[in-house]
Symmetry: C2
Subunit: 345 residues, 2 copies
């Protein structure tokens, strides 16, 4: 442990070194004297354990997972490294509290674009309390979880040195329509700063961030293959983080896009059954991302049309992209969904 080399009181030293994370997009935050995670300069992330059983559940998960030899290496690297637990001064000033010591997944990045996506159409699970089940049931129906199989819990997208980050209100992003989610996933990999909600994402970095043999889609597909097989864990209410550094791409460097799974306070044992709820939601997310990759022309076309059409644009679905090119003169905004309407429905 790095702290054992420090001379004076270990707790005091740690206290001085810790700070509030800059790039947290979801979850409890340590700002304004509240309880939340802290980071240090050596790439570690300190997550306070909740008083209820969520804290001990998350420790139990990390303990089990980190020593589980049946987790293949290519899957293990999609999870934060676990460094045990440690007693630290809590960020809310309430005194010493046990913290999970984890890898800080954005520590090596200066301006990371980050998206936190909670996977699963259902965030509750049979073993939970009836009160918890009912609250989750309500929230899953109110957000996009039920319809899409996931919900965006938070995000920040880096524009450039001048514009900085776009970090919309979390409540705004949790119940986006399918069309809006497509736009957000496109904005995430676009070169233009997505401050204007009506701007057209150019998807300039879709191929390098989402695509390729080491891109986000490839990592999600590896995860999917594992979930089709593993029956050890059910990751209820868990998120995937999508992270990359736009500056590297702007400089022409190779993408460092990463998928990381986080938030394991509600993990239950799989008991020989696959996590069909997580897997279904993951497949839905994969479909959204692969559609962006398989329709690059639509994005490029839109990028060309941006200046002339900018004022007319609303959040659009990829199908509308193509349609729009044909319809730009007549200015129709009809929603062309993929499917033929089911007669009589």
């Amino acid at each position: 442990m790095v702290f054992s080399t420090i001379h004076s009181s270990i707790q005091l030293s740690i206290h001085i070194m810790l700070k509030v994370p800059d790039h947290q997009v979801a979850g409890h935050q340590a700002r304004n004297g509240q309880l939340g995670p802290l980071i240090d300069d050596s790439g570690r992330f300190y997550k306070p354990l909740q008083d209820d059983d969520r804290g001990s559940k998350e420790v139990a998960f990390y303990s089990s997972f980190s020593s589980n030899t049946r987790v293949p290496d290519h899957i293990r690297r999609l999870f934060p490294v676990f460094h045990g637990t440690q007693l630290l001064e809590a960020s809310d000033g309430s005194g010493l509290r046990p913290h999970l010591v984890l890898e800080d997944v954005v520590s090596t990045r200066s301006h990371p674009s980050v998206m936190d996506i909670k996977i699963g159409s259902r965030t509750w699970y049979p073993e939970a309390s009836e009160d918890y089940i009912q609250r989750c049931f309500k929230k899953d129906r109110e957000t996009s979880s039920l319809s899409l199989g996931f919900r965006i819990s938070g995000l920040q997208i880096y524009g450039n040195e001048e514009s900085g980050f776009w970090k919309p209100e979390r409540k705004l992003v949790q119940n986006l329509s399918a069309a809006d989610v497509r736009v957000v996933l496109k904005k995430f990999v676009s070169s233009d700063l997505p401050v204007d909600p009506n701007s057209d994402p150019d998807c300039a970095f879709a191929a390098s961030v989402y695509g390729g043999s080491t891109g986000i889609l490839a990592q999600l597909l590896e995860l999917k293959a594992w979930f089709e097989d593993q029956t050890m864990y059910h990751l209820n209410s868990c998120s995937v983080l999508l992270v990359y550094e736009k500056e590297k791409l702007l400089k022409g460097e190779r993408s460092d896009a990463e998928v990381k799974l986080i938030d394991f306070a509600h993990v239950t044992e799989g008991k020989g059954i696959i996590d069909h709820n997580f897997l279904g939601g993951l497949c839905s997310l994969i479909k959204f991302i692969s559609e962006i990759l398989t329709s690059p022309d639509e994005c490029t076309t839109k990028a060309c049309l941006r200046d002339s059409e900018k004022d007319k644009e609303i959040l659009t679905s990829p199908d509308e992209c193509t349609t729009k090119v044909c319809l730009q003169d007549s200015d129709k905004n009809t929603n062309h969904s993929e499917n033929g309407t089911i007669e009589g429905m």
Copy 2:
């Protein structure tokens, strides 16, 4: 239409020709003057439309699906052929009622083994009424739908000429544990008549029914690949039927194992989103079936041990199969799940 060649009153002729299906394992049944589907001798299945919107929804689905040129042939053959609708005397004597005219998927079989598996951990959907949602929510939690991602709605397994069929009470099969479902799926492809609930399935026909390039697993995997991509339909509360003829296998003939999707009264439009609920449940079923295929030794070993161990056996998981071989002397029945226990949970 076959009926246009009949001289006398069409309705009367139809009435005489129709009969109650022999091999229906789930759903409403036409026996005892109740409303239910009927069949004829030419391989057609007549399903009465419900008075509420379920009937018209199912017609709408079949109309849309049968004319949808974007459904590939290898997927279309997993659905019953649709021959339109027809006014017929209802089986409950209530007079003329519109019926869906469908392919009778077991008409060419004399002693079909049939399993009806309702797919999805959730059988309700956002567009349904609050009352319907609450009833489904309750039933999904009471049956195995929530835990397994599917529930067995009914089944019949053919033994041999002497023993006939094993057709357990539907209520008994809807809430089986994972271990029990494994046993039922093994019994389904075993040579011995599964009358005795404690008997060990020998899985004699697992490779020919579940396995191979045209077996049930291959068909389910084709279906899975389509569900990973198609965003036209959400098949809420829909079942897959697994069907084969054991007599053919006993005679050494090639398996005619088939997967058919049925029950589309609750289909909704996909609106550009994959059916993550169906897909997750389907993946769970696939995992159960592939485990039977990848552990044939356990079945065979158990088959050898059957006579000596028969009296001790209970419904066992595949992991227990192996374990039991080692433990037979000490007669331990501890449940060895696949996963290491999550510490502290």
